[in-house]
Structures are given as structure tokens and as C-alpha cells.
Amino acid sequence: MTPDDVLKGLYDETMIGNAPAVLELTNQGLEIGMTPETILFDALIPSLEEVGARFERGDYFVPEMLIAGRAMSGALDVLRPLLVAKGVESIGTFLMGTVKGDVHDIGKNLVNIMLEGAGFQVIDIGVQVPPEKFIAAIEEHNPDIVGMSAFLTTTMPMFKANINAIEKAGLRDKVIIMVGGAPVTQEYADVCGADAYAADAATAVRRAKELIAAKRAG
């Protein structure tokens, strides 16, 4: 098998969510001397980007996105230690939680899977996350982006409360803040002082990458 065969195989098998094949191809690629960066950036990430694009167009559906993300994350389990050992940085660190008062996590988990698939290091601090826990996690993990999820109109105001607390802790300039969830709108995201809103997992990944690129470009 040539490196090109491996790359094409990884791209195609990730797209259809064939986790065993993706894992095997990843190992094969490493055996024939391919670098983890090549495998990640030339096959896996482009494949997941295409999955996201198809989802945004309505050509791909939630389960397809999920299994593609899972296939990818199986490969990442192999690649991550190698990348870390070589000092290759992840695309970014994404801290994610469902706000206090809210226990809904299906949407949040979907976004997490797609973010990991896109190469982000995702730190999920769960549901019912109060402001002080967001702050402690920001201090501990130093994320590029903080994502907050809310599923109820009654818990959405926690975005603002969290953002105020983050500001008060002097951390607001250090992080990009993204919000989402069924009742959330762009207008609401603007009013509560978030940096971005995304309506679905694929858009969240795209926006997260754009925002990080813009931040790093200064």
C-alpha cells in the first residue's frame, strides 16, 4: 500500500464512518512511515470537513456525522500521543459545558464529536455547570474557546451570567465564547455578549476554526 492509497482510504472510510477500517489504515500508514501529521491533516481532517459541509447542505444526516466523528476519534486515540510527543499542537482547545440549571446534553455531545473530529482538543465539563466551574476550568485548561450550551429559555440567561463572571475573573480577553442550543438565536448571542453562535454541530466547527484563525492572526 502506498501513502496515497492510505490517504485516499482514510478519507473515504472516515466519510462513511467505518471505524475499524480507519483505525487499521491509520496503523498501516504509520507502519509504512507516514507521519501522524500527514494522516491527520491530509486525510482525516479534510474528510470530516467534507462531512460537515455535506451536513450543512442537508446531504448528510446526524447519524452519518456521528459515525464519521467516531471513526475519526478512534484514529485520533492512536495519533494523539504521537503528535504530542512530536510537539505538534492541536488546532485548538475547546472547553464545553451545559449551563447551570440545564441537564440537556445530546446537542452538546454532537458538537463535541465534530470538534474532536476537526482536530480540537475538547474538554467536556458536563451538564449543570455553574459560573465558578467554568472559571476554574478556564484557569486549569487555558482553552482557546469556551462553548456553552442551553436547551431552555429559562437557562439561556446563564450565558450572560457566565460571561459576566468570566469577565470579573479577568479571563474574558483570553477566551473566545461560543453559545448554542435549541432556543438560542444569533440575536440572543449578541445581546448576551458571546463572540459567536452556531445553529448546529457542523457550523459550530466551522465558526470555531474561523475564530481561532482570526485570533491567531491577531
Binding site: V62, P63, V103, I106, Q128, T153, T185
Partner: protein, 284 residues
């Protein structure tokens, strides 16, 4: 077990031996950008079409939800309830996570409403059940607590037990006025989601015989051809013991699936409702 709700002039009985109670889901601003803008401007004119469409397609009740960002939910829910009662005699399901909004809706309502909803959280019960008692309403309860939305049917049953115990014991709500929402989740996120919901419905039916309702459209979220999925899910849930659903009542295939299941389950004597629906369609 019968849960009886009513408007000023019309009574609806929810029960396993009754035609399925179709609660129209349309009056809800979530995901409706134009409607949200109208509500922010205090404009409720969209309600007329929403009500008429759902009534025409055969809804048994209507859900009323005014929850959206930057809307005075209490004010709008009170106004919407008042307005809808002038447009239809169908009983209403007053739907909000804001306690003040529920109170405004109940205050504006003439009849016995269904209130959506409480959970197994003590705090929610403490705030809402006294209102339900005061207005003599029925209540939808979700078996989740402040820690999680449990996946396992047995855990949902346990939380249902807790809700029933608290609502009847501490707050004096008659057991027949408790309607459990066994939690419908998107099948696209996990292929076992619906199996768990169906199992939950069976467990609750077998232990309590309570009436149950759920947000049926949740099941098809993120999937293609949602109408078919919804229309297949509903009869399966009915067979398991579901007696009502907050659902898309503007899609004929959905309503037809429910009414066909009524007939098959022996809740449409001599097929009179089914035949009447057929005649009404023919006459159009």
C-alpha cells in the same frame, strides 16, 4: 385512568380507552425566526393561521408556548391564551419553563388546562404544583432530575414514582391529573433511543396506568423524511401505552397514522371516526 381537560365549552378525556389525544405543537417560536420577531413586537397575528391549520387537521388540543429570547413570556403567554380561546374551543396545554408565564397563562384560561411541565426536581414542583392545584389544572411531568436526563427506563420509572408520590402526597394533585412525559429523544443521536422510550412507556403503564404524552417530533430530529418516522413512531408508542402526544398535527400522514392506530386498538367503534375523516376528505 382518565385525565379530563376542558375549555370553556369543550371537554376532552385522555385515556387508554379513548381516541389518542393529539396536542398540536405549532404555537411555539423555537426555530421560527419571523414569528419570534413578531412576538418581540407584540404581534400575535400569526396565531390565527396556526390555530386554524391545526384545528382543520384534527388536533384534539393545542400547545401554547411563547418561549423565545428577549420576549416577555408571561405577558405574551397570557395574551396568546386569551386570543386563542376566541379562535377555538379546543382545550389548551400551557407550556413554559417560566413560572410567571405559566401563572399568566392559567390566569387567562377558562377551563381545565394541561400545564407543561414539571420535572422530578423539588424546586420545580415547589414552584409549579401549588399553581396547578390552585387553578385545578392537570400537569405534565418529565422524569428527569437536576443531575441528568436518565437513559435507562428503570431510572425514569423511579423518578416517575417520586413525582407521583410528591404530587399526590405533598401537593394534593389527583393522580389522574398527572400526565408523564416518558422523554422522546432523537433516534439519529443513538439508535436505542426509541427502544428506551417505548420501554419507559410500558413500565409506567404497567405500574401506574397513568396517561402519558411526549414531544413526538423530537424522535426524527436530524433525519431525512421526518414525516414517515413520526408517523411510524406514534402508533408504536400508542401500542406501548402512550395516550397523547405533542406533535405535528398539520401533517396529514401523522394524524392519519394516529387515527388508524385508534381504530386498530379498538378505540374507534365501527370505525366511525375513520370513516368520517375519509368522508370529510372526499368532500373537499
Amino acid at each position: 385512568m382518565h385525565t379530563i381537560v376542558s375549555s370553556a365549552t369543550k371537554t376532552v378525556t385522555i385515556g387508554a380507552d379513548q381516541p389518542f389525544c393529539i396536542i398540536g405543537e405549532r404555537i411555539n417560536p423555537t426555530g421560527r425566526k419571523i414569528f419570534q420577531e413578531q412576538l418581540r413586537a407584540g404581534d400575535l397575528s400569526a396565531l390565527e393561521k396556526d390555530v386554524n391549520d391545526q384545528v382543520a387537521m384534527g388536533a384534539t388540543m393545542l400547545d401554547v408556548n411563547m418561549g423565545a429570547p428577549m420576549i416577555d413570556e408571561a405577558e405574551m403567554l397570557g395574551k396568546a391564551v386569551t386570543m386563542i380561546q376566541e379562535l377555538t374551543d379546543l382545550p389548551l396545554c400551557i407550556d413554559s419553563s417560566v413560572v410567571e408565564a405559566l401563572e399568566a397563562g392559567l390566569d387567562a384560561y377558562k377551563g381545565k388546562a394541561l400545564v407543561n411541565s414539571i420535572t422530578a426536581e423539588d424546586e420545580r414542583m415547589e414552584l409549579i404544583l401549588p399553581l396547578v392545584k390552585k387553578y385545578g389544572a392537570a400537569i405534565i411531568a418529565l422524569p428527569n432530575d437536576e443531575f441528568e436526563i436518565p437513559e435507562e427506563p428503570e431510572r425514569r420509572l423511579e423518578l416517575t414514582r417520586y413525582i407521583v408520590e410528591q404530587a399526590t402526597g405533598k401537593y394534593g394533585i389527583p393522580i389522574e391529573d398527572i400526565v408523564i412525559d416518558p422523554l422522546a429523544m432523537p433516534i439519529g443521536a443513538d439508535s436505542q433511543m426509541v427502544v428506551r422510550t417505548l420501554k419507559t412507556i410500558e413500565l409506567i403503564r404497567d405500574e401506574f396506568g397513568l396517561n402519558m404524552t411526549l414531544g413526538a417530533s423530537n424522535v426524527s430530529f436530524g433525519m431525512p423524511d421526518r414525516h414517515t418516522l413520526n408517523a411510524v413512531f406514534l402508533p408504536m408508542a400508542m401500542k406501548a401505552g402512550l395516550t397523547s402526544a405533542i406533535m405535528d398535527s398539520r401533517t396529514a400522514s401523522n394524524v392519519s397514522a394516529v387515527r388508524a392506530a385508534d381504530l386498530m386498538m379498538g378505540n374507534d367503534e365501527w370505525g366511525a371516526n375513520w370513516i368520517a375523516r375519509h368522508r370529510a376528505k372526499e368532500a373537499k
